[in-house]
Symmetry: C2
Subunit: 276 residues, 2 copies
């Protein structure tokens, strides 16, 4: 693992690190914010999975989460959204290929060799982060934005006991019924839709539940509302009686101005679960 | 004037606008955050001047100032740092030409036709903003980062009565004695150093003072500390007995992780002056 940069930030350290990944077979870069408290021992951690076109950097510099993570004594991890580099399959569209890994393990050509983002964010990176930094593997929570909200919800619903709380900003909730999902799942997972169920948060929520609190914020003026499947998730949460708060935020869009407006609420929400 | 985007943000609106500028003879783009209170009438305004390589966008998306401006009911303006476009002189170096206007009116070739950033930020843009938006011309304050800190301090010291308070993050304080100054002033203003005095904040502070509070934060680990002239400003402030707070922040660098860490303090500092 190589340190790209370490910058003091709200009394803690915002680092950027690169490492060769077994999961993706490429070098992967991630951001890690450690609050001041991490000097004295392991701290709880909140994962932030990002959306289409993002790298590890977007949420790290735009979401404003460090302010509140510092106040709560919580670490933040900002993974990349796909493998990258020469020799890694890509597509001219912004919503497929590099920057659009959708947090799945691809089984189809040409994606299968490197697009193993599920293994990367579910196993390899947590292992690496908790072994190398003062981060407590027993106190993890997860959030994400858009495609990263899809990732956060599917990971939380698929890994019982891993995360104490889950939240999302404008998440893709029902990718099997969306242009942000069907195209990518067909490419990465193949045409057999039965293999997609494991990566559709609304399907997972209908089939099970999450053993902790859920918080989902979506803007009423989100220009991609037809792609998010918010109603499917709302219905699933209501039918399963999942402890959850879903908020439709009046006038907000899909951008980081929306995310940053509510990131204090989300970090505080996770802190309550992590420090309980 | 043309609206590029308007996004809801912390209950207010983060807009981006483009207009043809008389001062620069180019189109200029700026960001404007209006808090919710601006619906009911003019609000105080804090100017944020940005540093080398920045556009209107960097501080707007990275500094995290909107959170605190919303809380204080204050507008924020994020001007660009130079004229841009084809037909506008430029230089391959990052610290001269486009993205590096240094907030002066250039008199020398090839810069003189468009590089009139002093007139733009001191006159044209304030006039445009206060005429077109619910922004109170009588309650203005100014801050900036690096080259923008230079701009904020020189404007505040040169325009008595305009700004109620001035602050800066890692400002270039003494450009006449710095690689970030001598090269640019020679290019923009010519070799006669007597014409540079009006644009050196430490020279201006030695010669006069600012009729309001001053707040300056600089990181002890700033990699550009040899270019900032912090000591010259500290000395000027002490000799003139200028009401001011200068803080050397332990471990912080020159980046937006530094700026965002202290932006709450700066917005609160200005709010106290603006709402008094």
């Amino acid at each position: 693992m190589r340190t790209i940069s370490e910058s003091k930030c709200f009394g803690g350290v915002q680092g950027v690190y690169t490492h060769p990944s077994r999961a993706t077979g490429t070098d992967m870069t991630f951001g890690l914010f450690l609050p001041e408290e991490a000097r004295d021992g392991p701290v709880p951690v909140l994962w932030f999975l990002s959306g289409l076109t993002c790298t590890h950097e977007n949420a790290m510099v735009k979401a404003g989460a460090q302010r509140w993570a510092a106040e709560q004594g919580i670490a933040l991890v900002f993974p990349d959204t796909s493998p990258r580099g020469e020799g890694v399959a890509d597509d001219p569209a912004f919503d497929l290929g590099q920057g659009a890994g959708f947090y799945v393990n691809a089984t189809e050509s040409p994606w299968a060799p490197h697009y193993r983002m599920w293994d990367y964010v579910a196993e390899e990176l947590p292992d690496l982060v908790t072994r190398n930094f003062a981060v407590d593997a027993d106190r993890q929570a997860i959030t994400g934005h858009s495609m990263g909200g899809h990732g956060a919800l599917t990971l939380a619903l698929s890994l019982p006991g891993r995360f104490r709380s889950v939240s999302a900003f404008a998440p893709i909730c029902n990718p099997m019924a969306s242009d942000w999902g069907r195209k990518q799942f067909t490419a990465y997972l193949g045409a057999d839709e039965s293999k997609w169920h494991a990566h559709d948060a609304s399907v997972l929520m209908f089939a099970g539940h999450f053993a902790g609190p859920v918080l989902i914020d979506t803007g009423t003026d989100d220009p991609f509302s037809d792609k998010l499947g918010t109603a499917a998730m709302a219905s699933a949460i209501a039918q399963r009686r999942q402890p959850a708060t879903m908020r439709l935020q009046p006038g907000y869009g899909h951008d980081y101005f929306f995310v940053s407006s509510f990131v204090e609420d989300h970090v505080t929400f996770h802190a309550e679960a992590l420090w309980r």
